[in-house]
Amino acid sequence: MNTNQYMDIFVEESREQLQRLNSNLLAIESNPQDIEGINETFRVAHTLKGMAGTMGFKSIASLTHAMENALDLIKSKKLQINSQTIDLLFQCLDSLEVMLESTIKIGSDKGSDVTLLISKINALSDSEQKTKSESVTVQTKSLTLDDFQKNIIEHGFSRGFQPYHIDFKLSETCVLKSARAYIIFKALEALGDIIHSIPSVQDIENEKFDTSFSVVLVSVKEKEEIELKLKNISEVDDVVAKPLELKSIQIVAAEDNEKVDGDSTTANQQETKTQGFASKFTKNIRVDVERLDLLMNLVSELIIIRNRLQGTSVKSNAEAMTESLEYLGKITSDLHDAVMKVRMVAVDTVFSRFPRVVRDLAKSTGKEIRLNVLGGGTELDRTIADEIGDSLIHLIRNAVDHGIENLDERTASGKQKIGNIELSAYHDGNNVVIVVGDDGKGIDTGKLAKQAVNKGLFTAQEADNLTDREKMNILFDPRISTAAVVTDISGRGVGMDAVKTKVESLGGIIDIQTEKGKGTRFLIRLPLTLSIIQALIVQVEKEQFALPLGSIKEILNASKSDIHKVRNQDFVSYRDMLLPLIYLDARLGVMREPLNNLKKDSLTLVVVRKDDRLSAIAVDELVGQQEIVIKSLGKYLSDIRVVSGATILGDGKVITILDLNYLV
């Protein structure tokens, strides 16, 4: 069957299923009694298996098959849910994600080695059953050997070497477990050849084991002799050696595990799908984003022509005309809102991968962390949702790594042992606000300032005069946020400056609130949509420019006497402050008619906000406020930063939209 045409659907659906698998596993981890969660996870694994089977992706199918088996055992209470099982299932999930990406890139999941994971799952299921049925004192794990090891055993057997499976239990009081294990391994090597160990030798060396481990040894010695020799080693509580029979050894053979009954699974899959999920999900249609973009473009055109009609009706002044135009205007706005909503996705699509990130980070840092997600249903434009994820991960990583203190510090400062990370989203006017917060130690602004002085950003004296907020902004300085403060504030490669740049490129702003000892909150304020904004249109000489209304604080008129020159830079007094003054004509190279060079007595100023700083931009005239459709300048002009795009006005005229973040 030619499955190429289904590839897109497969990828899209698999991603969804993996996402669901991820959240289900997290749910099971936090609540192992959640039978419905387990069932759901099982169904997802089953669906994935079916889809992969149909598409001919054998590795994915066989791995999901193994997962399904394990989940089935969990369902029937034959396998316990503990951190080991959950970790393994997460590993499978990661592996599935990698394989899915490789199917996208190379159109096949070949080359992905799933045998190890599958054998681990099988080992887990087997060991669980064994411990139940045999109730041996030392926990045994089933043996999974590869062909090479099997050959050694077979070869040795024919020459009188007996394979033994030996379980060790070290004394609970043993301090240097890996050193003790080393002595045991030395003793074993004197007795014969070690061909396998559980866990691996490396893990044992790194003390990644509890108090027991097991090895497979081939030796000419008798069982009793071996046990005696080994029991003589101090701090060894128990040694059980069992002669192995060849047929009891389970050989991991990739082919056996990879057989998947494609036809029957797809049939089943259909069933489970309709039974299991139908009730849970609202009706969806999958639509190509390009088609939505097209629809959006058409609506944009409609808005342009509406603006144009409204412009002409002012001149013609026929009442009926004006009335219908107002109606047309309302419908157009509604239509625009509706189309915009189609493009919106719940912020959950971004948030849903973070519980896992936090979980893994918490595990690796040894901290206990609770992630509180709020407002996952808040919607924002798909493009923004796609773009903002990495920045959020960076902030979350920072919060875990550097925000939340370790357990000792938390207890010392009288905090709850569990650290909290807040991830929330809410609508605020025409913006979406995303908050990443923690209840950790907060950011030490003094320390930051010191770093900046060390780096030569400021002199010590200048640093003393900085406000707290200014000190905080050091965090976003590319010279600071990369290597210098890795241990204290920032993460690794991607610095805070990258986060800030990304947020700003999406037309948003980022703000920090921090209190020493109480925690830190990063507030990211993003526009609801990227394509249509409210703008102020200004004129300089004969040229018009659009300024996004979001950054504009106020319009004012200043007389010449309000302007002060300090070191070649003009400032204007505004309330109690002096704002740097930017002359738009000079800044943008607008050609002046010679006569107009004579400066007027009063200036029209647009006060804009960037971060917490205000600046004033001098323009000739205000044309008006208008909803504009942002159009990209295209690849050819992409390096021009002062202009973020262009828009077509009602009369067909093109004007550029200025990037105020860059301008001021």
Binding site: G589, G634, Y636, L637, I640, V642, V643, K653, V654, I655
Partner: protein, 152 residues
């Protein structure tokens, strides 16, 4: 053409737009040119390279227009009724070229295209794909891709 072993297959006839820049005649393969437009109002883009005249509204799309003369380092003259924009698309880029006058569209056979030879030192030969002799004199065939290459 040096190799004539398989002449019938290798000779292709293509249509070219002939146009004027000052007194010289240039040509662009019609496959690379999308349309010829009358000069609309051009909006200047601040901070852009000198040869980028600005952006225009082409039936709802915004496209940049460049002055070929400035790009080639020839002196610019005033726009007239004959001044046109040739919209070129290449490598997913759509850009308008301002030309003094569009002469006509001609069919040029690939075996009559000659390699680029040095005419004078003023002109950057890397923009050319070849040359062609006809009633208008020596026609220079433009390679839009190298014209659009962003350097600076």
């Amino acid at each position: 053409m040096i190799d004539v072993g398989n002449a019938e297959n290798s000779i292709q006839n293509s249509l070219y737009v002939l146009f004027e820049l000052n007194v010289d005649v240039y040509a662009i393969n019609i496959e690379k040119s999308e349309s010829i437009e009358r000069l609309p109002e051009i909006t200047r883009v601040p901070d852009s390279a000198e040869y980028i005249v600005g952006i225009i509204n082409l039936r709802g799309d915004i496209i940049p227009v460049i002055s070929l003369k400035k790009r080639f380092g020839i002196s610019e003259s005033n726009y007239t009724e004959d001044t046109k924009i040739i919209v070129v698309s290449s490598d997913n880029l759509r850009v308008g070229f301002i030309v003094d006058k569009v002469i006509e569209i001609v069919e040029i056979s690939s075996d009559t295209i000659q390699p680029v030879r040095n005419l004078d030192n003023e002109f950057d030969n890397s923009f050319l794909a070849g040359m062609y002799d006809c009633e208008y004199g020596v026609v220079m065939l433009l390679d839009p891709q190298s014209v659009l290459k962003i350097e600076i």
